[in-house]
Symmetry: D2
Subunit: 257 residues, 4 copies
Amino acid sequence: MEVGFLGLGIMGKAMALNLLRSGFKVTVWNRTLSKVVFEKDGILEQIGEGKGYIDMSTVDVDTSSRINEAITNKGGRFLEAPVSGSKKPAEDGQLVILAAGDKVLYDEVVPAFNVLGKKTFFLGSVGSGAKMKLVVNMVMGSMMNALSEGLSLAVSSGLNQETLLEVLDLGAIANPMFRLKGPAMIQASYPPAFPLKHQQKDMRLALALGDKNAVSLPVAATANEAFKRARGRGLGDLDFSAVHEIVKTIQSSGDAK
Amino acid sequence: MEVGFLGLGIMGKAMALNLLRSGFKVTVWNRTLSKVVFEKDGILEQIGEGKGYIDMSTVDVDTSSRINEAITNKGGRFLEAPVSGSKKPAEDGQLVILAAGDKVLYDEVVPAFNVLGKKTFFLGSVGSGAKMKLVVNMVMGSMMNALSEGLSLAVSSGLNQETLLEVLDLGAIANPMFRLKGPAMIQASYPPAFPLKHQQKDMRLALALGDKNAVSLPVAATANEAFKRARGRGLGDLDFSAVHEIVKTIQSSGDAK
Amino acid sequence: MEVGFLGLGIMGKAMALNLLRSGFKVTVWNRTLSKVVFEKDGILEQIGEGKGYIDMSTVDVDTSSRINEAITNKGGRFLEAPVSGSKKPAEDGQLVILAAGDKVLYDEVVPAFNVLGKKTFFLGSVGSGAKMKLVVNMVMGSMMNALSEGLSLAVSSGLNQETLLEVLDLGAIANPMFRLKGPAMIQASYPPAFPLKHQQKDMRLALALGDKNAVSLPVAATANEAFKRARGRGLGDLDFSAVHEIVKTIQSSGDAK
Amino acid sequence: MEVGFLGLGIMGKAMALNLLRSGFKVTVWNRTLSKVVFEKDGILEQIGEGKGYIDMSTVDVDTSSRINEAITNKGGRFLEAPVSGSKKPAEDGQLVILAAGDKVLYDEVVPAFNVLGKKTFFLGSVGSGAKMKLVVNMVMGSMMNALSEGLSLAVSSGLNQETLLEVLDLGAIANPMFRLKGPAMIQASYPPAFPLKHQQKDMRLALALGDKNAVSLPVAATANEAFKRARGRGLGDLDFSAVHEIVKTIQSSGDAK
């Protein structure tokens, strides 16, 4: 199979290398991704009858639908395939791939997906991949706030925060994110693995999806307000765990009681 | 070491058996635990100089402090040691023990704790064990709501809920609770492993602890309101995952849009 | 002054009659308002150099901006002027008018506004009228939830709800909305003066405006989730006070405690 | 009627003067109120068969019940009568009196209540007065947050906050509190008419009352978290409108978008 690769960011580079190593023939266009589909000399002009276009970036449902329409109108085939996982899983071929769109194209590219990820899902019509990613990130955002509040309550109650992380890691809610981010949050260290402004955008989009379907999501809405407050304080480019700066209480010595 | 065991509920029975199997001499009083310390012919009358009393149930900070005072006034020694974990970990000797109080007594009973649990923490003065348990359960309650909202948004968006659970289980927020409770929640099955009314009580106590220290905990407060609503609907004796009955939207066919 | 009047709904009819009674020359086009500006034979074709177009409906900021652009491109002048107030104030000439856009046009039509309303504000550039209306309705939506929760807490605590309304009406937070809607809410009567789905849409738009500017609005966000839940239960066409059906607790006889 | 008056704070002084002016015989004990009922030489020792004791301070339900029990055990009669209203209404005899307890005693003292207040309610058994006050203050606390969020959204959207107050004051949600506190909040001026820590305490007690009855109060719970955050920042002794310092966004110039 011949694979054209568009955009070599941190993720793309790791993924392209994995494909090369597995014997795929990979051609790379290292151009700016934004608007690349619709612009003059853009991808769309290259699309012809039967050609396949796979979008592995995280786009929203509407954009994905417009790309799909443009491509299929020219006789092409479209698959959205956003991934769950960041740099390390990309390098290790351990991504989770959330594909949706043209099923025949999907079946053709499964061998490539198997190189890139540990698990691939075909989720149905275009938009389902984007929606699944929003739901996952919404749950993640609420959980990040839950951890942050737990750390805040611990320290204000005279408990050791590192011990809390240890206890959490031994129980039913132990998870890699708490293990990875918790110690850094205690140190107020937030190197941007997933920028807070992107997390907040995903929560906004998830809540909008819920609004469309009249689904009440009070915990996610409350978590979103914390992320918004963090963004308003200029923390948008830090890791999304920087919401901890908003949640944790700056205790005054005075009349807290 | 001679161990007197008071109360043989599900947890106590498993724990006493483990101690017996490991060669401890165990005497059991199978009486009702409520008020057992202070009542006539209660434990307090048996306490004398140097005797140790260990409370492994989950009591609140105030009760624990009162017991501690009564015991030490009679020359006894007190250790609170609530556990994290339910029936299965108790049987397997895989509990997490959150001890606090008399450090000398703690050091004496560590061999017994090592039989009961996979990890034991000594957290400081009386009350710290109870507080740690409240913090953990507060984080757990917020996470349960996060999962429930995720399932609700998924199904209303046309996504398969089982697939969402699979995707979650492959990523950074994978955790045993989602794995265990998620499939049952989809089936609206809530056999009481940890009753909702107890979870809501712990969230109330955690929020009260935060209130005392002027710590703002908006996500936990919002999750608590969902648990309260569930209790108000008569779901208090079901598992705490039954909050899903409140969170999930009963879609009307009509004018949701 | 010659006034062309477009759209005779409940509000428009009352307003046009008031203008006629005050001696204005009024021409009425009783057509469907939707898309009337941009469609073939629409208003835009009638707009020429210097002509004024005033939009007194409640449109969102983006739509208002697009209309403004289309009109000014043809040499016309545009004023948005959404109103605060419903049928009765419209009939009595007691509306509050939130105008924004072309200041010269505004000054010309002030005599007409004085007939329609008790007070007119000029708020600046196009969009400011729409924004002001969103802010007002957001505060109103939070207050409606505050009242609903108060009624719920009262009845569950054994207090008389009518007495609560009396007490509220004698104090610092007495307001016409509580006075008007409160007694009906106790009776579970929600004749649609302002439909819940419109109120929820305004809260969604207000929260989106806040999101754009990174403003955290946790109380409004929580109130919005209650309105969404109400919409999901099929209450969208009732009055927005029907959120009370969601807030008030359906007490189970059983294990609420 | 002979009236003994205990405690001459701002409120008590104004009330005692009004009684004197109306011809009541008033004896004043100007002692510290705290624990006055139960302490040695306290009020309880003066209580005999048929004597009446009226508590017009704001106490919680439990304290009121304990006082009631102590007094009636000695053959006395008890009435709780917390008031709605602050210094000015107290001086003007325009308080709202929320009485509960001994109905015969109530009927006897109505003439005195008529001097002190513009309206008196008899609400039933002891505790009902305290509960009614909590419900009213809970609604007030949510409304204060609603106003604060409205001011914050306005200013961040480029709207004039004074104009927002004007518009609010002309519509269905116009109320004395917005009129009185709004302008001061814009100026970040919070002279303590009702201290924030007392408002937060009342919201905590109202939420606890709801918890007891399994009533979900998400908007009040969210408002309470804002008041707690304010307390944590050392604003507890300022007016409760100082919650605005927490709600309003400190905009960073940087990456809010």
